[in-house]
Symmetry: C2
Subunit: 353 residues, 2 copies
Amino acid sequence: MPQKPFKSPTLKELSATLELSQSTVSRVINGEGDKFRIARETQERVLHAAAVHGYSANTVARSLRQKRSYTVGVIVPEISEGYSTAVLGGIEDELLKDGFFYFVVSHRHRLDLLRGYPRMMLTRAVEGIIAVDTAIEDELPIPVVSVSGHQHREGIVNIELDHGQAAHLALSHLKMLGHRRIAFIKGQAFSSDTNRRWRAIVEAAKTLEITIHPQLVVQLQSVDPGPGPGMEVTRQLLQAKRPFTALFAFNDVTAMGAILALREAGLRIPKDISVVGFDDVLAASTYNPPLTTVRQPLRNMGQTAASTLLGLIRDGTQQPQPATITVYPNLVVRKSTAPAPSHLPPMAVATTV
Amino acid sequence: MPQKPFKSPTLKELSATLELSQSTVSRVINGEGDKFRIARETQERVLHAAAVHGYSANTVARSLRQKRSYTVGVIVPEISEGYSTAVLGGIEDELLKDGFFYFVVSHRHRLDLLRGYPRMMLTRAVEGIIAVDTAIEDELPIPVVSVSGHQHREGIVNIELDHGQAAHLALSHLKMLGHRRIAFIKGQAFSSDTNRRWRAIVEAAKTLEITIHPQLVVQLQSVDPGPGPGMEVTRQLLQAKRPFTALFAFNDVTAMGAILALREAGLRIPKDISVVGFDDVLAASTYNPPLTTVRQPLRNMGQTAASTLLGLIRDGTQQPQPATITVYPNLVVRKSTAPAPSHLPPMAVATTV
DNA sequence: CTGAAAGCGCTTACAG
DNA sequence: CTGAAAGCGCTTACAG
């Protein structure tokens, strides 16, 4: 037999022991004793007995009755990745202190999961959903807040980075270092951030009078997590033999992959090529060389998402929420960027594996 | 008003529409139509109507009635870390395909959370708990399986790495490369793996006739995630000025910190010092130099934990489960290890920051 | 083969 | 100030 070393009594049992009605006991347990003017003494008896018997209300029954679950769903692309987990950390901070729990699911860009999960979570009676870097297509009867999801649907609150500022920060840093021929790695088509960020880069380049050479722009294809896709695409870039002195990657992991491919071709970082990442994941600072990167306040974005969602759940969606909450990046200058070399570096043919 | 674009009808409503009893509808929805010999035609009508009206059972009500929640709790030390998240990925794989969801909480080594979370999850009616690298003190009325938790309590199934083999793999690799003076960084006292792993190292060293010099053994103190603690302790090691040619770190992140500190002191990796990590987190392969490390099959450990837990939930704890399920490491040789230098490297005084 | 009814454990109008 | 009773939406003996 399974051991049952601890089992909370039910309200009924506790009430019987106390010789009080369930109503009364329920009220004082829920802190409404004073509101219902229940005798101080009675309240103390109840609280004491609850403590002694280790009573805690069955949340399933409570949920059914109140039609509330105190649970939200979080949907992320991938769970084993610096980006999502940093955001998750922030979400946890906020949620748990309000007594909420959360389910996590990762869709790994599989369409069936992407479509199915929101419904499954609804079935699980979540009171709201946080979507991290993933677009939700269905209209849902509960509040949803999106982190970097760029949803334009009414009622969805977006937590978004100021991409204009991000692009400006990175490009002006490179410009100041004397870089003129800058290569770019765009994100995968499925990432909600890709277009938004690219448009911001084009804009910032214009303002800063930096020319973007189309031959120096490549785009991530593979959905694999890790640095593989970044390596791959950087090798292509090298094969085109168009010289450049700096590279702005879609994110840190991609930047790491790019550095690997660049080294493979005999190029030194940052001496020959400067590389700028994006996100500032934990590994960025310990990488060799430590990455210069545009920092997204990931944990803070998670916290903001959670507290916003909690607000929407509490107050309903009626009051017009700002459709997007903007959050600001900053540039962390480390060792992967340096002044542009006076001569363009030789673009060795990548020694493909 | 909050938009309600989609709202499942209740069983009652659906039954009314169909002019059938709730019992019948419930049975066919749950696939027990044949078992109860409900007319094929009736079954089809029900299924069709359910699809048309988008009926899905309210899981809260179902849980209350069945006293099952189809939910498990996962408790990890830290959510934004390679180790836990890899395990989480594996857990998700198994759980979701059986229709289970999971709550995640991270205790961050705070005693109050560590103690409070299992109870909170019980209150949430989870049917089982997976504890990752954390010891559960309370006896719980539900199955718990522990990943690297080294629980000795009856009824708890442990998923554990074969630490003997892990130690042997790492040390024999180092020995073969000619290393004789090897430094060690032990884990923090709170990590369940620390002692187990250390004992295995002592044992393997004996077998391989490697002398462990107590002055070359340091232990992580700080609870901070990231490479900070590893750097810190490596600086101490350097300050003692006892020469060594190799270092075996408690985990990859620590190894990265150690490499940072070693370089800071002018040492080259792997030319002067070889470094071996542990875990093989995603970043290990892209680090510079790519880390030689003892690979733990983290994702697989998560999967095993989940499927074991599901089994326990299904069959009850009665049948004697093996108290521990052993899982095997392998050595991934990359670029952070090399033959020992013929002369002991100079132990520069660390230039502390 | 199908249905009426009880009950899971709470909360909360309603009544006094 | 306190309690009796209804009901949240299901599942499942029990009956026929």
